[in-house]
C-alpha cells in the first residue's frame, strides 16, 4: 500500500487543522495580554500573568469549579460502573430479550439534543418530589444523576466496542478450567478492558465538567457549575480571565490525553511482546 497523498488532500488537512486550532491558540496567546480589551495586544505590558492571578483569586469561579469537580468525579465513577455493565451485556449476551431496546436507549442519549434531555430530567425530578418527596430540591445530586444518564451511554459504546474487538477464547478457556463467571469477569475481562474503562472514566469526567445545558436545567440555587458561571460571563462579552481558564483547561487536557495515549501505546506493545 502506498501512503502518498495528493497535494489537494494535504492542503485540505492543513486548512482543516488551522481551522480547528487557530481559535484555541488565540485564547492561549491572549491569556497573556495585559490589555482589558482582550483582543487588542498591549505590547508595552505583555506578556503578563496578571489575569492568572486574577482567576486564582476569583471566588465565584473557584467555588463553581469545586462544585463541577465534585459532580464530575462522582459522575465519572458512577457512569463507568453502569456503562461497563451495559457494554458487557451488549457485547457478550447477543441474544437477550430487550437487547434492541437497551441498544436504542444507550445510543439515543448520544445524539439527543441537550435541551430535551435537560427539560425532561428536570420535569422528572419535580414530579418525583411531588410524589415521594425525593429529591428534595435540586442541586448536586440531581445534576450528578442527569450527567450519569448521558455519560453512561458514551462509556457503554467504548466498552462495547473494546469487548467486541477481542475474541472470547480467553474467557471461555477460564470457564472451561472451572472459574465462575464472576471470577472470569474480574480476573480476565476487567484487566483486558481496563484501557477502555480508563478512557470511559476520563470521557465521562470531561462531559460532566463541560456540560452547560443539562446542568442549567437540573441545578438548584447555590449550585452553579463552572460552565454556568462562564456562560453568564461570556454573555456579557469577552473577559481575559476566561482566556486564562481556557489555557489552563487546554494544558490539563493535552497533558492527560498525550500521557494516556503514550501509556496505552506502550501497553499495547507489551501485550504484543507477551503473545
Amino acid at each position: 500500500m502506498n501512503y502518498r497523498s495528493s497535494f489537494f488532500i494535504l492542503t485540505c488537512i492543513g486548512f482543516g487543522f488551522a481551522f480547528l486550532y487557530i481559535p484555541i491558540l488565540s485564547m492561549v496567546v491572549f491569556s497573556f495580554n495585559a490589555s482589558k480589551l482582550v483582543t487588542v495586544w498591549d505590547g508595552a505590558h505583555s506578556p503578563t500573568l496578571k489575569w492568572y492571578y486574577a482567576l486564582l483569586n476569583n471566588e465565584e469561579i473557584l467555588d463553581a469549579a469545586w462544585i463541577s469537580l465534585k459532580v464530575a468525579v462522582i459522575n465519572a465513577t458512577g457512569s463507568v460502573i453502569l456503562g461497563t455493565l451495559a457494554g458487557f451485556g451488549l457485547a457478550r449476551f447477543s441474544q437477550f430479550r430487550g437487547r434492541f431496546t437497551l441498544n436504542a436507549m444507550t445510543t439515543a442519549p448520544l445524539v439527543m439534543p441537550e435541551v430535551i434531555t435537560g427539560l425532561s430530567l428536570l420535569l422528572l425530578f419535580v414530579a418525583l418530589e411531588q410524589l415521594i418527596g425525593w429529591p428534595a430540591g435540586r442541586g448536586i445530586t440531581t445534576m450528578t444523576i442527569s450527567h450519569m444518564t448521558f455519560s453512561m451511554a458514551y462509556v457503554t459504546v467504548i466498552i462495547n466496542s473494546r469487548l467486541s474487538s477481542f475474541d472470547t477464547a480467553l474467557e471461555e478457556a477460564a470457564m472451561d478450567l472451572g472459574a465462575r463467571p464472576v471470577k472470569v469477569f474480574f480476573v480476565i475481562t476487567l484487566p483486558i478492558i481496563f484501557p477502555a474503562i480508563l478512557s470511559g472514566w476520563l470521557l465521562a469526567f470531561t462531559l460532566s465538567w463541560d456540560d452547560l445545558v443539562i446542568s442549567s436545567f437540573t441545578s438548584g440555587p447555590g449550585s452553579s457549575t463552572l460552565p454556568m458561571v462562564v456562560f453568564s460571563k461570556v454573555r456579557l462579552g469577552v473577559s481575559p480571565e476566561i482566556n486564562v481558564l481556557a489555557t489552563l483547561t487546554l494544558t490539563v487536557v493535552t497533558t492527560m490525553i498525550v500521557g494516556v495515549s503514550i501509556w496505552m501505546a506502550r501497553r499495547a506493545k507489551l501485550d504484543k511482546a507477551a503473545v
Binding site: 487543522f17 483582543t39 458487557f88 445510543t107 441537550e114 435541551v115 427539560l119 452547560l212 487536557v253
Partner: protein, 286 residues
C-alpha cells in the same frame, strides 16, 4: 446486569412520558407552573383534562414554525459544510502513514475534549468588531472598516461547523480506515482516473461512515442552544433557544414541553436511521 437498564428506564424513558403529560397541561401561576392532568371531580369520578392549546399555540404563532424550519435548515447546511471540510481530512488521515495517523487523530480528538463553551467563546474574540480577524485584515490594508461578523448567521454557522467537525471526522475515519485501498489501485490500473475511482469506489464504500458522521452532527445541531445564544445574535431563531426561553424566561413549562415533544417527533426517525447505520457498520466490521 439489569441496573443500567433500570437506570435508563427511570431517568431516560420515564422523563419523556412526563414531558408528554405536561405538554397537555394548563399553565398555572404556581410552583411548579402547571396544573395537574387528573382531577377528582365529585367523590368517585376522576377527570382527565387534555389541553391541546399548547400545541395549537405552536402552530398558530408563526415564530415557532419558523424556528423549527430555520433549525432544520441551519443543521442541514452545517452538516454539508462539515462534510466538505471533514471528508478530505478523514480521507487524508486514513491514508497517512500509521505513525502520522495516530498523531493526526489525536489532533482531531483534542478539541473535542476541551470545553465546547470555551471553544465557542474563542470565536467571539476572533469575530467581534475589534477582534483578531478584523485587526489582522485592517492592519494588512485588505479592509478599511471592521466587518460585522459576530451576532450574524455567518458566526453561527462557523460556530456549529467548528464545534461539530470532530464528530463527523471520527466515524468517517473509522470507516475509511477499514477500506481496501487495493481496489483503488486496481481501478487506476484499469484506466480509471483518480476522481472517477473516488466517485465510483471510495464514496459508495464509505456511505455508512458519511451517514453516521452526518447524523452525529445534524441531530444535536437541530436542538443546539449554546452556539446560537452566544454567536447568533438576537435574531438567530433556533428551536433549542426558543425552548430555553419558554422555560427559563417565560416559565411556560407546558409550552416548552410541547416544543420538546414536537422536536422529538421530528428527530426520532433520524435517530432510528442512525442506529440502523451503526448496526450495519458494526455487523460489517465483524
Amino acid at each position: 446486569m439489569a441496573l443500567p437498564y433500570l437506570w435508563l428506564l427511570l431517568f431516560f424513558v420515564v422523563p419523556f412520558v412526563i414531558v408528554l403529560k405536561i405538554s397537555f397541561s394548563d399553565i398555572d401561576l404556581a410552583i411548579p407552573p402547571y396544573k395537574p392532568l387528573l382531577e377528582w371531580v365529585g367523590k368517585h369520578s376522576l377527570a382527565i383534562k387534555l389541553n391541546f392549546d399548547n400545541y395549537a399555540f405552536l402552530f398558530t404563532d408563526a415564530l415557532y414554525l419558523h424556528a423549527f424550519a430555520n433549525s432544520i435548515k441551519v443543521a442541514f447546511l452545517s452538516t454539508l459544510m462539515c462534510l466538505v471540510i471533514g471528508y478530505p481530512m478523514a480521507y487524508g488521515i486514513a491514508r497517512a502513514k500509521p505513525a502520522a495517523r495516530n498523531v493526526l487523530l489525536l489532533l482531531v480528538i483534542l478539541p473535542f475534549w476541551t470545553s465546547l463553551l470555551l471553544r465557542v467563546y474563542a470565536w467571539i474574540g476572533l469575530l467581534k468588531a475589534n477582534g483578531v480577524i478584523n485587526n489582522v485584515l485592517l492592519s494588512l490594508g485588505i479592509i478599511h472598516e471592521p466587518l460585522t461578523m459576530l451576532y450574524t448567521p455567518f458566526a453561527m454557522y462557523v460556530g456549529i461547523v467548528y464545534s461539530y467537525l470532530p464528530f463527523l471526522i471520527l466515524p468517517l475515519y473509522a470507516n475509511l480506515e477499514k477500506m481496501d485501498w487495493q481496489l483503488l489501485e486496481a481501478a487506476e490500473d484499469l484506466g480509471c482516473r483518480p476522481w472517477q475511482a473516488f466517485y465510483k469506489i471510495t464514496l459508495p464504500l464509505s456511505r455508512n461512515g458519511i451517514l453516521a458522521g452526518s447524523m452525529l452532527v445534524f441531530i444535536p445541531a437541530v436542538g443546539e442552544f449554546v452556539i446560537p445564544a452566544l454567536l447568533g445574535g438576537p435574531n438567530a431563531l433556533m428551536i433549542g433557544r426558543v425552548l430555553w426561553d419558554e422555560f427559563f424566561s417565560n416559565r411556560a413549562w407546558p409550552v416548552a414541553s410541547a416544543v420538546a415533544i414536537l422536536l422529538l417527533i421530528l428527530l426520532v426517525p433520524f435517530m432510528m436511521w442512525y442506529q440502523s447505520v451503526q448496526a450495519r457498520e458494526s455487523a460489517g466490521a465483524r
